[in-house]
Symmetry: C2
Subunit: 324 residues, 2 copies
């Protein structure tokens, strides 16, 4: 069994259109192939305000699958450490033998989550989306913007974050990296009203977006909520939308935005992203529809990116061997 | 993060009375401390007749905890590979940071399972148990016998296995290793009738032991069943017993011998091993009681042995550093 650390992984993987395709295919697999994806396992460490989530998924026919451990320890900032950490283990599907430990410290989760945002935008947002709105200014906010720019002709960005200095860093970094103007807004409302596509990337426990602010043609991807106590969209937002999409319905009803819908018709009408990517269901049907996609994160995304990065790492090694 | 392989681990760990104490304490922790032990997560790989189980447990106050992946791929023998494999990951309880990967290939599971057998015998079997009965002749059968001999004055052994050549190897190896006479029996019944303590170590799907064969003073530890389709004891065996013990009641009712009891009073009267080791409940009360212990395997055992072996590995390294 091989151990690869974050540095090894960072050297070979990139957030690009090929990664978006890989994650898109994973969503398709989830609805078209026999998939074994047990519910998320969670170990709480209440003394240290921490939790460890374990995800996994095996897709019929694949020669390997991943198990992912991802932790959130929310006192870590006091120790000068990031709250998130984690690793993936790639297992040989034929023998159960562990092939590799990918000690990515959460990097692969960040990337596959961003790539899923691009897939959501590709199927739900208007093709002419030029104005991007980002709620939140952290690492995932940046990655979501970069991923979005891979699939839509983004020309300007509106951002809102609670900390002004973080919003300023976001503006400076993103303008330099993407060559697109970024405007710092004073409220979530201001962002929503000016954008064609909005991505929410916060750990909020109370709604940030309300239905009164929505306008025809808007798409919102809400990727922040992934636990029973989190919520970014008011229930009225989902009720007003013409199309509500999520990654896995059962999971979104438990951990994501669908949780707030109670027994409303929204639940029944909600589609899974894989049904769109596989062509089973339609995505956006017209320029003026209002669409929502809620992403909670799935084991198939982890398996897809782990398999991808492992193949890159092994190829990289072959090249090095050939050279030496 | 550190990676230790089976060879590193095998060098420092031993099945001895100190390991039995560590596992005994883990059972006590399970009932006396705040413990976070989610249900087992399972990923099936039906195409290759395989499954991966994930277990974990965090015990309040501990500075680390383990996540264990253990696989059973039952076509592996055709490839000349063992069916079992696996690894443990030790996580820092304060930060969520992975401390080490223990790529033990299932060794630690074998040892902690054997040690749990010794704990069961210590609290349930007669102190004067001199005759051991072993059903099964594999690696775990051998380890269970060795573990039993650590806590009871075993003088002779009765073994039954379906394959005569395996039973012969068991006899030769165990007589040499333990210096105790081993008699190969022609049936399970013959073993049970002659033994003071019996340990069943098979993957049987149908009962192997029936109540008619039980005699006063007998203790049986059934450690084979750990899945919905497995069973080693006829339901009548549990009904006839004076004391029925298991590791975790909810789990034994789902995956172990308690599953076959339906709604019988056995369920209500069954005790957990941790209640015995902590002194909350009594174990065996007299020489002529018939007692049963069903072990399905728990995350606290994994966390306990992973923490133990990690401390040994780190100490070992310190010694090497000092020498060099």
């Amino acid at each position: 069994m091989r151990l690869f650390d974050q540095k090894d992984i960072d050297k070979v993987i990139r957030l690009d259109t090929s990664l978006v395709s890989i994650i898109e295919d994973a969503f398709t697999d989830l609805v078209t192939k026999q998939t074994q994806m047990p519910p998320i396992m969670r170990v709480d460490v209440p003394e240290h305000n921490g939790e460890l989530d374990i995800k996994s998924a095996y897709i019929e026919g694949d020669d390997s699958f991943a198990v992912k451990l991802s932790s959130g320890f929310f006192n870590n900032s006091e120790l000068g450490l990031p709250s998130a950490n984690g690793l993936m283990i790639l297992i040989d599907s034929r023998t159960g033998r562990p092939l590799a430990v990918l000690a990515d410290e959460g990097l692969l989760t960040e990337l596959r989550t961003a790539a899923a945002g691009a897939v959501a935008a590709k199927y739900c947002s208007s093709e002419n989306s030029r104005k991007a709105g980002i709620i939140g200014t952290g690492a995932q906010a940046r990655l979501q913007l970069k991923a979005l720019a891979l699939v839509r002709p983004i020309e300007s960005v509106f951002v809102y974050g609670r900390k002004t200095d973080h919003a300023r860093s976001f503006k400076v970094d993103m303008e330099e990296e993407l060559g697109i103007g970024v405007k710092i807004c004073n409220s979530v409302k201001e962002v929503v009203e000016q954008s064609d596509v909005v991505v929410t990337t916060t750990p909020s426990k109370t709604p940030l977006i309300y239905s009164d602010w929505l306008h025809p043609g808007l798409h919102i991807t809400a990727m922040g909520s992934d636990a029973e106590h989190k919520q970014e969209l008011d229930a009225s937002v989902l009720e007003k939308a013409d199309l509500v999409v999520c990654d896995v319905k059962a999971q979104s009803m438990r951990l994501g935005e669908l949780r707030s819908c109670g027994q409303s018709p929204v639940l029944e009408q909600a589609r899974e992203l894989g049904a769109l990517t596989s062509g089973r269901d339609d995505g956006r049907k017209s320029e003026d529809q209002i669409t929502i996609c809620d992403l909670t994160g799935t084991g198939v995304q982890d398996t897809a990116i782990a398999r991808h990065v492992y193949s890159l790492l092994v190829t990289e090694e072959d090249v090095i061997h050939e050279r030496s």
